[in-house]
């Protein structure tokens, strides 16, 4: 049994744990026997200023709970305080990791034994124009804040994640996409401008469309911190969406439904029963949602109220949602989820309700429907393996992936399918094709096999010319990272890193794992 205090498990199996020396900074290399001599560093050891207060130490985790690392956490509430945090890092010789709401699945917002700057307190909405839908926010404003604030004026965030809790800073750092990626692109495309603070203290104002704009958005906190973000929200004429349900009987049908429905969809998302085999292999449920045009909703003032959007507190009017995850717990295993997946498909397949109206929040934030559902996965947490595959090879690739999971008896408990379109962002994850997101439960006993499986899945993705997404990733290797981004992109990114963060102050467990410097 492995005992690790702040992370009972790591992104790597235990035998790969290696040491790094603080004095060597971000370029320290694994696998060397490092000899630290007290006499050489005597001044830095005895000098009091090199100490960070122990009560700042917090055991942080990635959202999936499968990776964690203790760090000294600071939560500035102003730009001045944010600058002081960078100064503190320089003074104490520590690295800095930027963190929003900590909603990345993997290790993107973790910085082991270093300073983590959590921007959740810089959460003011600074300007709002209800005529144009243009809003200016601090980086800690969450998607939840945004929609709650704007909806009564008839606006909805143009791109949202499956949960409403991420901060805008984090959302831009990962350049997130939603169920409308094929149509609306990633969130970055809706940002008009932003202010940006680099570790060296340089303050930039970046306008949409510039080269810098496309390089900084999606650079997962490696170049600096967003300090002010202006974006344009989507005008909506109702608090409801028109939702249609389709039930493809297998993987091929799923692709057919998507291709057929794409032109007339605002949102499109598929859920696959990854346990189904034989003729039913890839059977799924597809939800299509469309905005209502002006005048369609007879009671828009009512549906655009926050109270109308709020998810119910009780499930079936019986069980408080706050404890629902406990009831899921007995099912978060291969057999239990086979049952749930089957029941879900069958109930949808035979449900007479194939067209209905649903509130934006209820449709968008599926992951918030059962609060703390990840707890049902138990102590080991979960990882998500999401890959983005060009449309030509997507079906064959996802078939291979799902077959491999079934063969290895590590079937994802949740498999979500989406359509994407390419964009101009430097470190983009998007392709003209599809993505499949696979949620795996992590336990002490399956950890090694699971990482071996993700390594094989990664090979399949690379062979198909696919891409990955830093907001989800927990398992990628430096080689795979280099391979899908390409040397040209990486050297361009390294130039920027060099320009904005010469001393390599910004790093994360993800950047260390992928050897991004």
């Amino acid at each position: 049994m492995v005992d690790a205090v702040d992370d009972y498990s790591e992104s790597q199996p235990v035998e790969n744990v290696s040491l790094h020396n603080s004095d060597e900074g971000p370029s320290s290399k694994n696998g060397q026997n490092i000899h630290s001599s007290l006499t050489n560093h005597h001044s830095s050891l005895t000098a009091h200023h090199s100490l960070l207060p122990h009560d700042r130490l917090e055991p942080l985790k990635g959202w999936g709970g499968a990776v964690g690392a203790a760090a000294y956490v600071y939560r500035p509430s102003t730009l001045e305080q944010l600058k002081e945090c960078f100064e503190l890092a320089k003074r104490t010789g520590k690295h800095v990791t930027l963190r929003g709401a900590g909603r990345s699945y993997g290790d993107a917002s973790l910085g082991r034994e270093n300073i983590v700057i959590e921007l959740t307190r810089m959460n003011r909405i600074l300007a709002w124009d209800a005529k144009t839908g243009i809003i200016t926010c601090e980086p800690g404003v969450t998607i939840e804040q945004l929609w709650r604030f704007a909806i009564e004026d008839g606006y909805w965030p143009p791109v949202v994640s499956g949960t409403m809790y991420p901060t805008l800073g984090g959302v831009l750092g990962a350049n997130i996409h939603g169920k409308n990626n094929f149509k609306a692109g990633p969130i970055g495309e809706h940002v008009l401008s932003f202010d940006f603070l680099t570790p060296s203290g340089e303050e930039l104002h970046v306008e949409h469309g510039s080269d810098l704009f496309y390089s900084i958005v999606g650079s997962f906190g490696m170049l600096g911190a967003f300090t002010k973000i202006t974006l344009k929200l989507k005008k909506v004429y109702s608090g409801d969406l028109d939702v249609k349900v389709f039930n493809p009987a297998n993987l091929h049908e799923l692709f057919e439904v998507f291709e057929r429905q794409l032109p007339q969809s605002d949102y499109l998302v598929g859920w696959i029963d990854a346990f189904a085999s034989g003729n039913s292999f890839g059977r799924s449920i597809v939800h299509q949602a469309n905005y209502l045009a002006l005048g369609i909703d007879p009671i828009p003032a009512k549906t655009l109220r926050v109270a109308y959007q709020d998810l119910p507190d009780m499930i079936l009017g019986l069980v408080p949602k706050s404890i629902m995850w406990m009831f899921l717990r007995p099912f978060t295993n291969q057999l239990g989820f086979k049952l749930i997946n089957w029941a879900k498909y069958v109930s949808s397949r035979f449900s007479p309700k194939t067209e209905f109206r649903q509130a934006h929040a209820a449709f968008a934030f599926l992951l918030d429907y059962v609060p703390n559902w990840k707890r049902s996965y138990g102590e080991g947490g979960l990882i998500q393996f999401q890959s983005f595959i060009p449309k030509e090879t997507a079906e064959a690739t996802f078939r291979k992936q799902l077959e491999l999971c079934q063969r290895e008896q590590l079937v994802p408990l949740l498999a979500v399918f989406k359509r994407h379109r390419p964009d101009q962002f430097l470190l983009t994850h998007a392709v003209d094709g599809y993505s499949l997101a696979l949620d795996f439960k992590v336990t002490e006993s399956n950890r090694k096999n699971l990482w071996a499986l993700t390594s094989k899945l990664t090979e399949i993705v690379l062979a198909a010319g696919g891409r990955f997404y830093m907001a989800k990733d927990a398992t990628l290797t430096p080689d795979a990272f280099r391979q899908y981004l390409g040397e040209e992109t990486l050297s361009k990114f390294r130039e920027l890193k060099h320009r904005f963060d010469l001393d390599g102050i910004l790093e994360s467990e993800l950047s260390k794992r992928l050897e991004i410097r």
Partner: protein
């Protein structure tokens, strides 16, 4: 057996500390070696490249501990287990009362432990978890007439560890008090290098390390090494003073 990923061993250059460090390194743990004897630590580190870090330090330099501790935690990438194994036993002549030696013993065996383990406790309380192993001794069970400051230093350490355990248990921090009997280390040698005469139930440091890690991974609060010393301890505790003071050990 439980595997601790990131470990500090204070007093790692010789004796039980060295055996523990090596046992943990063999298990695949990353270990920060702390002791005055840099050469001895380097010799260990050479055999475990990439797994052992060397930090020369005199445990009596208490003011160095907070910064050194933070730095080691940084370099290890966290901390799951700390073992305080630094200890000395000075020789006393039959009629000798020597405050300099007394103080040195308390400084190394007790105060050094306070300095390191206080720092550890602060951290473990914050991150809600971790294991602390303190190498005390069967010698701390009663105030025998032999090596007065050594017995007193270990008695203080034993009580300190118990208090720490009671204080930290609500943070899921495990504190293990280790009470070895006779272990075949330099402590049992006379000034001329010969071994002391009466040494019952002698075990090797490697065997002691094995028993200590086993006890800790089984979640023991206190472990006698080897276990039969528990009965000796019981007898000693039961013995009334008018008999105990007449015994010649």
């Amino acid at each position: 057996m439980k595997q601790w990923k990131r470990v500090i061993v204070v007093g790692a250059s010789a004796g039980i500390g060295k055996a523990l460090a090596e046992a943990l390194l063999k298990e695949g743990s990353s270990v920060a070696l702390v002791s005055r004897n840099e050469g001895a630590m380097n010799a260990i580190a050479h055999r475990y490249p990439g797994k052992a870090l060397v930090f020369p330090h005199d445990v009596r330099h208490y003011e160095e501990v907070p910064a050194l501790f933070q730095r080691i935690a940084h370099d290890l990438g966290g901390l799951d287990l700390i073992i305080y194994a630094a200890g000395i036993m000075r020789e006393y002549e039959p009629h000798e009362y020597n405050f300099t030696k007394d103080r040195e013993t308390i400084e190394v065996n007790t105060l050094g432990a306070f300095a390191w383990l206080d720092e550890t406790a602060k951290r473990f309380e914050q991150v809600k978890g971790g294991t602390i192993i303190g190498i005390s001794s069967i010698a701390g069970e009663r105030g025998r007439s032999g090596n007065v400051p050594y017995f007193a230093s270990k008695a203080a350490l034993t009580t300190y560890l118990e208090s720490l355990r009671n204080r930290l248990s609500k943070y899921k921090v495990k504190v293990v008090t280790i009470k070895p009997g006779f272990v075949d280390t330099a402590m049992l040698l006379n000034a001329d290098g010969s071994r002391k005469s009466f040494i019952p139930w002698l075990i090797s440091p490697e065997r002691a390390a094995q028993l200590i890690l086993r006890a800790a991974s089984r979640g023991k609060n206190t472990a006698y090494i080897p276990g039969r010393w528990r009965f000796v301890s019981m007898v000693m505790h039961l013995m009334p003073s008018f008999i105990f003071r007449r015994l010649s050990f």
